[in-house]
């Protein structure tokens, strides 16, 4: 398989609520998914989709992530206000493995390889066979309209001013 070209930087991104924003000057040529059980738990999902950014190429432009040490070898960065999983960081490593979905344009960052196959969910072998219900607008037009006018997610671009909606405890 021919490896796709890496997109050229700079890149921007952040968490769902907008309390954390970052810039990445360039990406390492390692966009991948990791199915390991620890990446599953960090994201609440079936895998993490990650791409490396050298420390010197990464700038936190708004706020700072919280971290959870998933082992003595690695930290997982997340937004303490909304929970978005932002990165995996191997202690002492040259780069931070940023979550691809946290970038403003995740579509541009195509995956190159898969890791952690011991944890691959059986359904992921049959992605193309899962029935399609179409777009959010088509499947649930009334809810989609309410969501659109009260969307608290930070837009997919940098903003000069943004007041994140506070996370709440019950």
């Amino acid at each position: 398989m021919t490896e796709p070209q890496m997109p050229e930087g700079p890149f921007s991104g952040g968490c769902q609520c907008g309390a954390i924003r970052f810039h990445a000057l360039a990406l390492r040529d390692n966009p991948h998914v990791c199915y390991c059980r620890m990446c599953q738990k960090a994201t609440g999902n079936l895998f993490a989709a990650l791409v490396g950014v050298l420390h010197e190429n990464l700038t936190w432009t708004r706020g700072k992530p919280a971290e959870f040490m998933s082992s003595d070898q690695a930290a997982r960065g997340f937004c303490g206000n909304c929970g978005t999983s932002l990165y995996y960081r191997s202690i002492g490593g040259p780069h931070v493995s940023m979550s691809i979905g946290a970038f403003d344009e995740p579509e541009k960052i195509a995956l190159w390889y898969q890791l952690g196959l011991e944890g691959k969910h059986p359904s992921l072998f049959h992605l193309n066979e899962i029935e399609e219900a179409g777009t959010t607008e088509a499947a649930m037009p009334e809810d989609a309209a309410v969501i659109r006018i009260s969307n608290h997610q930070h837009p997919d671009h940098d903003t000069d001013a943004w007041t994140p909606r506070p996370g709440v405890l019950p």
Binding site: T43, S71, A75, G80, E131, Q153
Partner: protein
């Protein structure tokens, strides 16, 4: 009655139980689910709120719009739930279950923001298990693993979350 499914966050502060078989499990590609899990799509398991119990700790919530809120662990960040407070069901993030392989998606939603490379995921190279080429690193991780085990525990002291260096 023992629960049908159990799960929780990475650090173990929040644990939950589900007392019904899952139904209508789905992939959601919408941009809001992408951001909540910071990945190309989320996999969500609907359950009735009457059949969902928090068995340890409590979730924090982010209101992603006026009609939806997303539960997560404030200590480790794991996304746990998606819900419309006014409806009788809520969605559990499938990766948070102790046995996610028991919960399989049947349908895809939010195709307006499905990444173009979704269908090629299985064609990607990769046949390695985690650190197959570095057993020493694997040992260093497994011997200091702070993730809660994939079953309920009587006693568990979550490893505290920290701030970056």
């Amino acid at each position: 009655m023992s629960p049908v499914l159990t799960g929780g966050c990475q650090c173990g502060r929040v644990r939950f139980a589900v007392d019904m078989q899952p139904f209508g499990v789905h992939v959601c590609h919408c941009r809001m689910c992408q951001k909540a899990v910071a990945g190309p799509f989320a996999v969500i398991c609907p359950v009735l709120k009457t059949h969902f119990r928090i068995t340890r700790g409590e979730m924090a919530y982010f209101h992603s719009s006026d009609i939806a809120r997303r539960g997560y662990c404030r200590d480790c960040g794991t996304p746990l739930t998606f819900e419309y407070p006014h409806v009788e069901g809520l969605g559990v993030l499938v990766g948070a279950f102790d046995e996610p392989s028991r919960v399989a998606p049947e349908i895809q939603y939010g195709n307006e923001s499905r990444v173009s490379w979704y269908g090629t995921l299985n064609a990607l190279p990769g046949d390695r298990v985690t650190y197959a080429d570095d057993p020493q690193m694997l040992h260093r991780i497994s011997s200091s693993n702070h993730q809660h085990p994939d079953h309920d525990t009587e006693q568990w002291t979550p490893h505290p979350g920290g701030q970056p260096d």
